[in-house]
């Protein structure tokens, strides 16, 4: 019998949190979780995001349904559709956010869909000292862009608006009082530096306060970060629970074949774990 995360004692959960931060991710197999139990597990790590959007079940708004399934009226019940998803992480378009761990629990699998995780911390560690210094002097500006991760506009029709439109975005919604953040961050738990290369949402870059060509920076970072040796890949099977640190890693997904594929996703901080 595979050990169930629901039964983890405090020390074991703490070890798991350490593992997520050290490796960027952890995968547990053969887990048996209800929506309430996934929320319970997530809350043991820390505070969970909870919005009440179309993809959040009413009784467990901490969960976001990730699926292309539609209800009987043809309305989407989940987010992210069935297409390829560009590299992203939770809070990609924000300069400040706390929920830096994401869980993805597989309810219905698709053996032809793969999630790739790229470790931005390992990538930074292997840069030359010259590059490290230069990147440390750069700030990036992020903003929400429609179609950045996937093509929402393809199902955003005048007579049938995309449900994603109801989701809050931008500095006003998140009450941000800053308009940029360092390209190189320090993780609040382990203090290791990571590249924060939020691919689809970079709208500007500044070096020592002076605006620089962010598109050239984008191309340069792409080459340095997205290397096979920094990546791991996972095909979800029913019962798999993936936990990913959203500062040390970024992720993408290949297109979906089995439209029934369904994941439950939560995003939380580590405030209940003693490090």
């Amino acid at each position: 019998m595979t050990s169930q995360i629901l039964n983890y004692k405090e020390g074991r959960l703490q070890n798991l949190a350490h593992q997520i931060i050290r490796d960027g991710y952890a995968i547990l197999h053969d887990q048996e979780l209800s929506q309430q139990e996934l929320v319970e597990v997530s809350n043991r790590f820390g505070h969970c995001e909870s919005y009440g959007y179309f993809m959040n079940p009413k009784d467990t708004p901490e969960i976001s349904i990730v699926s292309d399934q539609k209800d009987e009226n043809g309305k989407a019940i989940g987010m992210f559709g069935d297409t390829e998803l560009q590299w992203h992480a939770n809070g990609s378009a924000r300069h400040l956010f706390d929920e830096i761990c994401v869980s993805l629990y597989c309810v219905v699998e698709c053996v032809d869909t793969v999630l790739s995780i790229c470790n931005q911390c390992d990538a930074f560690a292997e840069l030359s000292n010259l590059d490290k210094e230069r990147y440390r002097s750069i700030d990036i500006q992020l903003d929400h862009k429609k179609d950045a991760i996937y093509k929402i506009s393809e199902h955003d029709l005048p007579d049938s608006p995309a449900p994603e439109n109801e989701m809050g975005t931008g500095a006003d919604f998140y009450k941000e009082d800053v308009d940029r953040r360092p390209l190189v961050g320090k993780h609040p738990i382990d203090d290791r530096e990571y590249l924060y290369f939020m691919v689809p949402f970079i709208v500007g870059a500044f070096q020592n306060g002076e605006r620089i060509n962010h598109e050239a920076l984008y191309d340069e970072l792409w080459e340095k970060l997205f290397r096979s040796k920094y990546m791991v890949h996972h095909v979800f099977r029913k019962g798999d629970l993936l936990l990913m640190d959203q500062l040390h890693t970024i992720h993408r997904r290949s297109p979906i074949y089995n439209k029934e594929r369904m994941l439950w996703r939560t995003a939380f901080d580590y405030s209940n774990i003693e490090f």
Binding site: H29, V111, S116, R227, S228, M231, H233, V235, D240, S254
Partner: protein, 266 residues
């Protein structure tokens, strides 16, 4: 600088081989291989297959081109097309499978295509003794069938090549010939091609056997996944693992595949 396998000593290659034989895929990133030095590398492990078929370059017949690309006349340049490939390993339906080490080197990548590798030794080792004994007494008959791991059109030279083997009758559970000092039994389970099965001397329901074993073997904890980037070299054992591929999106994806044995390294 990333470690280049070409520079590995014989001792290091032997250690790599030991790891692969246990059913663990071994990956090298950012390798700088030509056809010639790739072949030279694999020959350090053992003897390579070189059947001189349409997918073997004339000057480097040990290489099998794996791609969905076609030439200007619409002829296939490589094997395995662009669709999903079901679970398989090299030489599944052959009577004598000896080229049990596969190298896959990525020349052109497709970031939406994944290869999954399932360890078939660990599921056996995780069984209780009673089930181990049961499966040890099972014999299977294996024969290539079209429209299982993939579809091949009539007249396709790949179909002719794949169908050429008469098939084999062998034990479901076997011992890896090169594993020493560790449990060496593994499931040989290319289930698409299993036609018949016997428990001791009695014929049994092959569909039920396959259904039961799928649940035992294809569990997420035994499976690893990889998306090839240019320069990646994957080495996998064909007894202690099975592999499958998701459909290919970028038809330019190109891999060089070599199958060899371990005779020069063990």
């Amino acid at each position: 600088m990333t470690i280049q396998i070409l520079n590995s000593s014989d001792y290091e290659l032997k250690q790599i081989a030991r790891k692969i034989q246990l059913g663990n895929p071994v990956l090298f990133f950012e390798q700088d291989l030509t056809e010639a030095n790739y072949i030279k590398l694999m020959k350090r492990f053992g003897e390579c297959e070189h059947p001189n078929l349409f997918m073997n370059p004339v000057n480097h017949p040990e290489i099998f081109i794996v791609t969905g690309k076609k030439d200007k006349h619409g002829k296939k340049l490589g094997m395995f097309g662009e669709t999903e490939l079901g679970w398989h390993s090299n030489g599944n339906s052959r009577h004598n499978v000896d080229k049990i080490l596969i190298g896959l080197y990525c020349v052109e990548e497709d970031e939406n295509t994944a290869l999954s590798i399932c360890n078939t030794a660990r599921p056996f080792q995780d069984l209780d003794d009673k089930l181990k004994d049961y499966y040890r007494d099972i014999t299977i008959k294996i024969k290539f069938k079209n429209d299982t791991i993939y579809h091949l059109e009539e007249g396709d030279p790949e179909l002719e090549f794949m169908s050429a083997s008469k098939g084999s009758i062998r034990k479901l559970v076997d011992r890896h010939p090169h594993i020493i000092q560790q449990p060496s039994e593994y499931f040989y389970f290319p289930y698409h091609f299993i036609e018949k099965a016997w428990y001791k001397k009695k014929k049994i329901d092959v569909n039920k056997l396959i259904k039961d074993l799928k649940e035992i073997i294809f569990r997420s904890k035994y499976i690893k996944h990889h998306i090839f980037h240019k320069g990646d070299l994957l080495l996998i054992d064909q007894f202690t693992s099975l592999h499958r591929r998701t459909p290919v999106y970028n038809n330019k994806r190109l891999m060089w595949r070599i199958a060899c044995d371990y005779r020069n390294i063990i």
